[in-house]
Subunit: 297 residues, 2 copies
């Protein structure tokens, strides 16, 4: 699959209104605000049960899983040819999804989604499907680069020498796994890999780390170790950037970690001020590592 870096900015190419297909969490509205502040017209299509009601602040349409025809009508009625897909979604239980006519017309594609493969397979298939219908799919960072974590120290604290060793190890683990389409995160404490994320998500992994450390199954240290997040190599970065926010920071703090390191320019940090504030308040460092240093792992 094509590897699109988020820094191949193409927001300048967005001509008409921007269509935002919205999953859960705060990101869709943060992006919509950023797009609006650039003077872009926009229309949000919110997925019922996933997107927050807050999207109603903007021009919007609600759709249910399976209403593929409704999605296309909404986008086409508003003249949206440029799209951003953003926000978390739970995998729908296909047995309980009602498909509309637009979905039934695209059944071969929907069936192909069920054929297995990692998350990245599903997401890149959706992007290819939308592109085959003539839409242009952009990354959130293309529209609003300020939503991506920058490079260097992002909060008040800086990582120690030990932390830096843990960071390097964490990027190695995430890099090795990413090539196999697994996870985007790992936790390393004093050279020891405490946890690796696969399907459970970062929050569940951090909760496990908190439990492991409190139960004394691992050596205890006063605030040590790091959460590392990076995209998988070749990941469809337009629709599946790893994300951190204030809750990530609080859960990393609860797990006794010293800080968080992310791939600079490749991890969404849409709630920038709140995330940095949470890091400072909890005494965690927060750093963006350059792509170059990642490529060397």
């Amino acid at each position: 699959m094509p590897h699109r870096r988020a820094d191949d900015s193409d927001a300048g190419t967005i001509k008409g209104p921007l269509g935002i297909i919205a999953g859960g969490g705060p990101l869709p509205c943060v992006l919509a605000d950023a797009a609006a502040s650039r003077g872009l017209e926009l229309h949000i299509v919110g997925i019922r049960g996933e997107a927050r009601e807050e999207i109603e602040r903007f021009p919007h349409t609600w759709m249910k899983w399976g209403e593929v025809g409704k999605l296309f009508s909404a986008l086409d009625n508003k003249g949206c040819r440029d799209l951003v897909i953003i926000g978390g979604v739970t995998r729908p239980d296909l047995a309980n999804v009602k498909f509309d006519l637009g979905a039934i017309r695209n059944l071969p594609f929907l069936v192909s989604l069920g054929m297995g493969g990692g998350d990245d397979h599903v997401l890149s298939s959706i992007v290819r499907f939308l592109e085959s219908k003539g839409y242009r799919v952009h990354g959130a960072g293309d529209v609003a680069p300020e939503l991506l974590a920058g490079q260097g120290r992002l909060g008040d604290r800086a990582p120690s020498a030990d932390d830096k060793a843990d960071i390097a190890m964490g990027f190695k683990v995430v890099g090795a796994l990413g090539r196999l389409d697994v996870g985007q995160a790992a936790v390393v404490v004093k050279g020891h890999v405490l946890a690796v994320e696969a399907a459970e998500g970062t929050d569940a992994m951090l909760a496990r780390c908190a439990e492991l450390r409190s139960s004394g199954r691992t050596r205890r240290h006063a605030r040590a170790g790091v959460l590392v997040k990076a995209p998988k190599p070749g990941q469809e970065e337009r629709v599946d950037l790893p994300t951190i926010g204030p809750e990530t920071v609080r859960k990393a703090a609860a797990a006794g970690l010293a800080g968080i390191a992310v791939a600079a320019g490749q991890v969404l940090m849409a709630e920038r001020a709140a995330t940095i504030e949470a890091a400072n308040q909890n005494g965690l460092f927060l750093v963006g590592e350059s792509v170059a240093s990642l490529d060397s792992t």
Copy 2:
């Protein structure tokens, strides 16, 4: 560190009585029975709070964490120069361990254990320490090769073509991580890596898989996917072989998996009959993959 394969059998070189340093679970007594059935004299040193009382079936001494001097006295009084270290241990909380004179004499070594690094660092350090004291450390499989999982189909069922693809993927994941001294196991379901084991252990990983599948966060299938276990490349196989038993099988069944694949000759399956019986009863396949096919991943 030296990479010792369990099939470099050297049981023939064991002259005097075998010393068994026993952690938790059934393995120490299974090994002691196997050694006794070969006519080997033996003496078990059980770690309090870890080893089962059942070790008292054999000539034995109890020691607490920190009683390094007592360990050496017990082994030397019985003339044990050949050792096997077997059974799970929890990481002791060093702040609450009482060290005897023998421990204090070896403080530099004990301090080095606390210096970080993965589990394999700690275990290979212990082996080197015992060797520096003149003991010969053997793997359980050296003494009793029948305790290792063999090659090929071990139970009634055979993996399907889909299962074989999941098995190959699982060995790739475990291989990639093992090179970084992480985990010994992964779960792959229909090409999708559901979970990767780090510090939490296989049981906790399988419990997480059961939860992920029941909560519908992953696509559900009637009994699909595989647990793969293999040693890390370069792992100190004399003291840290991955292990499966009937409980592993039951937890894999509870997670909805179709079966279990292990590295043949490199995974302990001491409760052989009970493990195979559990696989058959739960309808899971259980296979040993050859080292050659692992090396090619």
